[in-house]
């Protein structure tokens, strides 16, 4: 904290940069405020998702069998694919920040484009998954008019059908609905954050192409990078919680 306090006293040579806002003393202070602001915002985001994680934990411990059955019905291939895509996009985002810091514009723009494409890929795969769930009548409640929750349940002795819900002993359809309700709330909220992130990336891209960023002024890239990584982290937790836990009941 000491260096924060001294930041006014140290006059760096960055007075008068065109991106310096009037109420800051210098670029260093402005960058610091931006980064700090994003971190504080991410704390808010953590608490926002925290409420849903709490609900998830409570109901998972209340209805373990139903949650495992519902979880088994999710498409693990697509989930794992999406995890990979998102990790890769996080990597390209980190590289975009790096290239901005060292002032290499072309690779920076390339990395931003790659990040954006990967982000959109993630959303595309997610949309495919949502559609599958819609086909299987797994959208909870009456969210979709005309298609209320009502999956076909696999009966004992029937051949396995991946459109049918296989209920483990102790699970009920109603509890499975609870899982899907939490699933859609969490992944939906996550997808919303991805969409916002894609918007922010587009904005970065336009500004990069216009040549607004330089090693002196790259705080928007850095700050939006932080946001993007955060969204990645949320998925890192969502993937095992929603797709993986309970697999071993069926396959182990």
């Amino acid at each position: 904290m000491a260096d924060v306090m001294n930041s006014h006293a140290t006059t760096s040579g960055t007075h008068g940069h065109r991106a310096l806002q009037h109420h800051f003393e210098n670029m260093e202070q402005q960058r610091e405020a931006g980064t700090l602001g994003m971190w504080v915002f991410l704390v808010t985001e953590i608490m926002f998702f925290g409420g849903m994680f709490l609900a998830y934990t409570l109901y998972r411990s209340k209805y373990p069998a139903a949650f495992a059955s519902a979880s088994n019905h999710l498409d693990i291939t697509l989930g794992a694919l999406n995890t990979g895509v998102l990790i890769l996009s996080s990597f390209t985002m980190a590289m975009a920040v790096y290239f901005t810091q060292v002032g290499k514009r072309r690779p920076q723009i390339f990395c931003l484009i790659a990040t954006l494409i990967l982000g959109l890929t993630f959303l595309g795969v997610k949309a495919k998954e949502y559609h599958d769930k819609y086909e299987d009548r797994l959208i909870p409640g009456y969210l979709i008019p005309g298609a209320p929750f009502g999956p076909a349940v696999q009966k004992e002795g029937e051949p396995p059908d991946h459109h049918k819900l296989h209920l483990l002993p102790g699970a009920t359809v109603e509890q499975v609905q609870m899982f899907y309700w939490i699933y859609f709330a969490m992944t939906g909220m996550h997808a919303l954050h991805m969409i916002i992130g894609a918007g922010l990336l587009t904005f970065l891209l336009i500004f990069s192409i216009k040549g607004r960023f330089d090693p002196e002024y790259h705080s928007p890239v850095e700050v939006i990078g932080l946001y993007w990584h955060f969204v990645d982290i949320v998925w890192i937790f969502l993937f095992p919680l929603l797709y993986l836990l309970g697999r071993h009941f069926e396959h182990g």
Binding site: V4, T57, L58, F237, L244, H248
Partner: protein, 99 residues
């Protein structure tokens, strides 16, 4: 908060670690560990991956103490929310006024 430029090699390493972590967690999910170990394994891998992202991709390792404090406080408040809520649910059976 003087700036630190993280070398590319670090980014690549972290990326590979994350991929390996993903692979591990998927594999572990199909293996039936005793008791609650499945959950613990999955969560440990996820937390490790998240920690790498936070430390390197998000540069916290090279940041001022204040950022550490912010990250820690977010986790602390999450812990409060979970611990005190479950202090209710887990102790209800000790004396039943509602069941």
């Amino acid at each position: 908060m003087s700036e630190h430029i993280v070398p590319v090699r670090v980014y690549v390493t972290i990326f590979l670690v994350l991929l390996v972590g993903t692979l591990l967690t998927v594999m572990a999910a199909f293996y039936d560990f005793p008791g609650r170990l499945n959950t613990i394994v999955a969560m440990t891998i996820a937390t490790t991956k998240a920690t790498f992202v936070v430390l390197y991709f998000m540069h916290v390792r090279y940041s001022i103490r204040l950022v550490w404090v912010i990250v820690a406080s977010a986790l602390f408040w999450m812990a409060i929310m979970f611990a005190l809520t479950f202090s209710d649910y887990w102790t209800r059976d000790w004396m039943r006024v509602g069941y």
